[in-house]
């Protein structure tokens, strides 16, 4: 019996063009501030990225990524501090190892590893945040919607 909460996946179409849903996990200390700076500096970023603030990119458990895909995300972006800048010293190194391994497993799951992207964005890199959101959205558009099969 299906007891888990599942979101009915509706493919987002705007004027007949596929608009991907992207979940962005941004670390509180660097990337979220970077995204914030993009906002206050009125730099446009892609609206496809739905931001979730985490205390550290190392807080993003692989099960969060898997769950995001299960609940309908077409892509998952994880952004944290540059190496050496981590507020918790080495959380971002753990993230890097985790994402490398996650990509290996996603490939075996039959899911294109390009749907998972890791970026280092500091609190001053508003331009980079904006660029990454547009690039990643374009990337997911070319990959198309993620359709999961259950049966």
């Amino acid at each position: 019996m299906e007891t888990k909460q599942t979101l009915k996946k509706e493919i987002n179409l705007k004027d007949g063009v596929f608009e991907p849903k992207i979940v962005g996990f941004l670390c509180n200390w660097c990337s979220y501030s970077g995204a914030d700076l993009a906002g206050v500096s009125r730099i446009k970023s892609a609206p496809n990225v739905r931001i979730i603030r985490t205390m550290c990119s190392g807080r993003v458990d692989p099960s969060f990524i898997i769950k995001a895909f299960e609940l309908g995300a077409d892509g998952v972006l994880i952004a944290g501090c540059h190496f050496g800048d981590c507020h918790y010293l080495e959380g971002n190194f753990k993230t890097m190892r985790r994402i490398e391994m996650m990509k290996l497993v996603l490939k075996q799951f039959g899911i294109d590893a390009r749907r998972l992207r890791l970026e280092w964005i500091s609190a001053s890199e508003a331009e980079k945040f904006s660029k990454v959101t547009f690039e990643f959205t374009e990337q997911i558009k070319t990959l198309g919607p993620l359709r999961l099969i259950k049966n």
Partner: protein
Amino acid sequence: MGKPKLALYWAASCGGCEITVVDIEEKILDVADFFDIVFWPCIMDFKYEDVEAMEDGEIDITLFNGAIRTSENEHLAKLLRKKSKLLIAFGSCAHDGCIPGLANFYDKQSIFDYVYKESPSVEESSQGVFPQTSTKMPEGEITIPEFWNTVKTLDQTVDVDYYIPGCPPQSFQVAAVILAVIDILKTGKPLPDKGAILGADNKTCCDECPRERKEKKIKEFFRPHEIIPKEDECLLDQGILCIGPATRSGCGALCVQANVPCRGCYGVPPNVKDQGAKMISALSSVIDATSPEEVSRIINKIADPLGTFYRFSLASSTFKRVQFSDKT
């Protein structure tokens, strides 16, 4: 009032779970004494019609082992659910999908293509002869169950009251559960909460492991045949992929005591949803590398990461199966 009624059934399983029930030694006499065994096809001759003829809820307890692979498995799961007061997913197959669940790496078509066409043991004359669910013969129509595309666990098919994990569940745990059940039925004590995991503990396998743990820094992974592990040191510390950190305790850490890494048969520990994801999380904390290239080099030595991290829980994982829809 007659004896309480007990049923045991095997769906897609190997039979090891039945062995573990018999392995409770002389306590099996208590079981036979206390319960009326009304259905146990592995041990005695019962017919499905016998179960169909029962009243709804007539069976007090059903121990159901095996995953749901075919329409026959599904039919019996639904039937036994209807006829039983308590349905217990017994063993890793019913609980998590276990080894049969690894078939979710493929789909029905690719499995049939290999088994009935490409496998070297298929005779040339019968290559490409696929089983049909119904065949007309002069004597009448004969039918076989349908093979589903995806292996499911018991609780993805019907409502399940309790789970007993393990591949197989350890017989001392089975004995303890059965004695506890007898006690509950005799004295009218309250039952555990629905959905409880019985016959296991609430920590990870590492908690029971007697090996000495140090600060983990893994530079290289070894497959079991490439290294002779030290007897008293943590296997993961030595670079042998041990799924203990992402596995529920309760087995008594048997494998690691025999110098074999834990493979994860007791399923997810408490508060974890996805065993493989937990293992990835645990490993990424201990790999000793600071650049993506170095990480790649180390993790590329893991043969079949998906099959290793999800060996027993692919069917119950978040994705449930390998996806063929995203091939580019």
